[in-house]
Symmetry: C4
Subunit: 230 residues, 4 copies
């Protein structure tokens, strides 16, 4: 029987159906995970969610066994990137039922790794990888520059605002939160300078630092357009 | 009589005048719709607005009848994209006068479809369509990545903030609202992390996720510049 | 005497000095205008500011007279773009001293037109003009699309939030303020949706509308880079 | 002994190790500086931080002496950009121990100059420099335009809001703070227009001014992509 073609191949009809079904199941498990966190959930809802969880994990376990069975090199599959992610997606369920039930929640965070499974089945992603590799050096420089800008902004605002607003700008670490929220232009409004010096400094930092933070996306878009042309 | 040239053709002088007049009427009806929602509106104002509404709908009805009359294939016109929109623009008025008057408001939302009529008369739009088709695949990947970023951000912040701020980060769905408002850098300030872990996580998510959200517009601008050159 | 070379020519040494001095004076008058608005200003400060104002206007008047005198066609200078701006920059001062002193403030707004004088002396501006002309059509489409996005967002949020928050989303016009503040990602936090429907709608509008608003700058940057290459 | 190769050369193995160690030490001193600002710090922590400070400054002093010793022209090294920065990085420590201990904090701000040391060892930075030089003229025009936009926005909002909100829009300088926070889309929410005129004006300014502020980063990204290609 051509089991390998069904599990690993996404070009054949049965292979596509199998893999699309797995993807749908991953989305279902991600959604049910969100619903579980709703505060006022009836006992019956909790039971339904548990059944969904058990069934999806069961199917994922069968899928993992199949992938393990059809792999050319089984040992390499287990320690491959996707092999480990597939394992992490089902392991928390079995561990949690054996030990404490409360600790499940933390382990379930690993469920998110199933997302990478979804990303596996995409061809345009190659172009993103090419664009990313193309500008890797520039991104490193830009992220360093951004980190330095946040540091300078934090230290600067600390000198201007720490005396007047000790609860919000009490240490350079407090100021870093402000610097990130400001330089990304999120601006929640939970912390902002009120002294004249602090406001002048913020204006200066914004004019210089803002451009810096917007450059990576522009550069990536440019590299992506180039990868598309090639 | 060359009625077809007047209604469908935007190259002849009379055709241009006819279609520009219809466009002006659409804008008028959209503005009057806004004015209707003003809370303290005098009885006389309401009457004037109703007259405007009745007159525009009457003209749109005549226009629809003309378009139906001059169409090469009448059945195809009725079920075409613009044929349906033209119908939806006038239908709510007639339905509402027959049934309940309160329910008009909800149906009037459909009036907005008249906007597409305005968009019909533009030539540069073709270039936008070309640019859009050019980067369709990349947009799908980017929107998937954005959706995943919002999911990861929501689950992550839930673990850090749900215990401390149960009213604002009570479930992953509550956290999704925060994630969207934060990653789009709107930052209303109605919900923001206050724990150290939550703030570190937000900083991390912002540095990674922000670039992601800005890439589509950069890519589209690049594709549009390319479509302009060709 | 070669007065024309001094006033109109920015290539000769004296011409450069004259025009740079005028520019410095414009900046001075703009700064002094800001200082005048400070609430607690001593009587002596007010007098100094008035002297600065009187002196700068006197110099600008002499400058205007000189430009008028050396112009090839005096009638064309008076009605030229910069001729009118030069006149508007000095006229309010003379009018205000004749009539009421309170009304000066409103007229002084025109002083801002002096800024265009500053812009006159720049060569790189031509490239900006080329880039702007290059993408004019696209900008018209994008601004129309943005206006429509704001309209759709305003009407949509009105249906979701007007009943719950009548003070903030009381009419479509109120909602437009929210739509502009949200779609530009400013997000003051004075108005934000609190209903589930309103939040879902906001998320949807943000994902679609945000890209739209960022495209013009990307397109302009691209056209500017192209103008630089040519 | 080939001391010069170790200190100045980053191509040899020992040279790389030496310079990487110095970089690690700079990061350590920057982090310890942040920790020092934490409000509730135990006496023992303060002592540890002082020891770290003393040791790093001692190593930096030795490093400075070495760089001075191996320099081709010692007088040129002392007055070179990096020579001065290296001196500023260690000087405050020695000055502070001689005079008052409180005033250290202000001088320590100079420590941040050590960051430039980090930037010295990067090759991709050359491309950033090329891109920056390539668009220098455009950046000057854009920063002037941004400054004018902020000025116009400030004066405009002053006329609309100063009478209604004198505490937040009391002078054009107060309005400038609002203009910077708004045009950079940070939008803390500490000051926003509440009059109809002020809101219409803000909407107008945002549509025009926002694009302006986003252009520099797009332009820089474009120039960087070009520098990468060359």
């Amino acid at each position: 029987m051509n089991l390998k073609a069904v599990v690993e191949d996404t070009d054949t009809r049965t292979g596509r159906i199998f893999n699309l079904a797995i993807q749908a199941l991953i989305v279902l498990s991600l959604v049910s995970f969100c619903i579980e966190t709703l505060p006022a959930l009836s006992s019956i809802s909790r039971k339904i969610l548990y059944v969904i969880e058990a069934v999806t994990v069961a199917i994922f376990t069968v899928e993992y066994a199949l992938r393990f069975y059809v792999a050319d090199s089984r040992i390499r599959f287990v320690f491959s990137f996707y092999g480990l992610i597939d394992l992490f997606a089902i392991l928390p369920f079995y561990i949690s039922t054996g030990v404490d039930l409360r600790s499940i929640r933390v382990f379930r965070m690993l469920r998110l790794f199933r997302i990478f499974k979804l990303l596996r089945y995409g061809k345009a992603i190659q172009r993103f990888r090419d664009a990313f590799i193309d500008i890797k050096e520039e991104l490193v420089v830009l992220f360093t520059a951004t980190a330095l800008a946040i540091y300078v902004a934090s230290v600067g605002i600390y000198y201007f605002e720490s005396a007047v607003q000790p609860d919000k700008f009490g240490s350079v670490f407090h100021c870093m939160w402000w610097a990130i929220v400001t330089l990304t232009t999120v601006g929640y409004g939970d912390a902002f300078p009120i002294t004249l010096g602090g406001r002048l400094f913020t204006g200066l930092i914004l004019v210089v630092g803002l451009g810096l933070i917007a450059v990576p996306s522009g550069l990536f878009a440019s590299a992506l357009a180039k990868a598309d042309r090639d």
